[in-house]
Amino acid sequence: MQVNEYKPLIVAFCCNWCSYAGADLAGNNRLNYPADVKIIRVPCSCRVNPAFVLRAYQRGADGVLICGCHPGDCHYTTGNYYTRRRMALLFSMLSYLGIEKERTRVEWISAAEGAKFAATMNEFVKTVTDLGKNRRLEDLRCKK
């Protein structure tokens, strides 16, 4: 039997208007990014409640990415400004509790940035692969 190489599970919350479209564009342009990234479409990046991030980790994610429109370009005018504040505080708290800060990230990717989407995902998957499995925020019950 072949030994399985560690492949991280990445959850990317993508805003419907920019980043999700960016992912589409990456696909249309046949740009490669790892299949380890699972995309969850949200109406706006500010739809992402801190509990979503924690829940993703609980259910086995090794990295969580929140992608939205560039500040100033939000479809709802100001949604991503709130995301920025919330996530800055949440990530800071996670780091305070000793959870690797590289596992969680906010990225602004517009609908025209298919290449940036692919590059970001490639780079993030590599970062998380280097970090290894998420042990500090996992819920062992889920794997039973």
Partner: protein
């Protein structure tokens, strides 16, 4: 009766932990908690642990079974594993008596096999309370802290620990450590008991009585106007119920895993707004009813169903932990007979 120097206790714990899992109270920042013995752990000097030892037999969270689904097929998986014998060391008499209260609930037919299994494998080594606290009122319920029961009773006196096995389980444990114990007579222990009894006479709550409570008092107490005042600042948190050695309510819930379900039970609290919630809602609409439920259960309903035994042992944990310092003593004084 056997004895061992307190300074030799580490050797005793080392010896015991070769054969058993040994749990003993150890200090943390501002309290004590039970911990599995590891070399170097020191027995706490504190009177009691913040959380009661009911956790050993009725854990706060306990997985009961698992379900796996495949198509339309559901597999029920029994996840119970055979339990080894374990020792809970340093249990005060109030806590020992609390197991009687729990036994009545969990071991009466149909017996709770999860609880029964743990009870069968647990060995209780009790200890006399050489320094009872102002919050103690076990005497109210006829509990004698100078004469602890359990499988083995122990007394501390003059740098020596005295041990007396009471049951076959206790004898079996003594036989493991008999090499480091020496025989002793009862003199020192009797002196220690006397000392403890003198302290008991000085306790501020020594005159608290259960008069006015007990079986058959429901009609008399249920609609008393005092409940409103007593419960008015209750926060509705679960502290009293979770530190209580005799509170036994639990909830059974399902946790969805990635490919199945774990059915587990966890402590529940009558103080919570979600307690016993049914399709028609929660039967106790305000905190007053929830508050009343807790004390009526301890002082009236439980004795009614269990031959007059109260489901409070006077350990005093709720007196120390309640955020607003409302507790069973204040309730008994406000509603009871000669408690003024």
């Amino acid at each position: 009766m056997y004895k061992i120097k307190i300074s030799d206790l580490p050797a005793l714990f080392d010896k015991l932990s070769e054969k058993y899992d040994v749990f003993l109270p150890v200090d943390f920042d501002n309290g004590a908690k039970y911990k599995k013995y590891e070399k170097g752990d020191v027995l706490s000097e504190k009177l009691n642990t913040v959380k009661s030892p009911k956790d050993f037999f009725f854990p706060q969270t306990e997985d009961m079974m698992r379900f796996k689904t495949e198509g339309k097929k559901i597999d029920v998986i029994d996840i119970r594993e055979p339990k080894d014998d374990f020792i809970v060391f340093g249990v005060t008499e109030c806590d020992v008596k609390s197991f009687e209260v729990l036994d009545n609930v969990f071991l009466s037919e149909p017996a709770d096999t999860y609880y029964a299994e743990k009870r069968a494998h647990g060995v209780l080594i009790s200890r006399a309370c050489s320094k009872p606290s102002e919050t103690c009122f076990c005497k109210t319920y006829g509990i004698d802290p100078s004469e602890p029961s359990g499988d083995i009773s122990t007394w501390k006196a003059d740098g020596t620990l005295y041990l007396r096995p009471n049951t076959d389980k206790g004898e079996a444990v003594i036989s493991v450590i008999s090499g480091i114990l020496t025989e002793a007579d009862d003199d020192e222990v009797n002196k220690e008991k006397e000392k403890i009894n003198k302290i008991l006479d000085r306790l501020p709550l020594k005159n608290l009585t259960t008069e006015g409570f007990g079986a058959g008092k429901t009609a008399e107490l249920f609609d008393r106007p005092e409940w409103a005042g007593l419960s008015q600042s209750c926060l509705g948190c679960g502290t009293c119920t979770f530190v209580c050695p005799t509170c036994q309510c639990y909830d059974i819930r399902d946790f969805k895993t990635n490919d199945g379900v774990i059915r587990y039970r966890c402590w529940d609290s009558c103080m919570y707004s979600e307690f016993t919630k049914m399709s028609a809602g929660q039967p106790r609409l305000t905190q007053k009813e929830r508050f009343r439920q807790r004390f009526m259960h301890k002082l009236v309903y439980y004795p009614e169903n269990n031959g007059g035994l109260y489901s409070c042992v006077g350990c005093g944990r709720c007196l120390q932990s309640c955020p607003i310092s409302m507790n069973i003593v204040k309730v008994m004084k406000a509603l009871g007979g000669k408690n003024e």
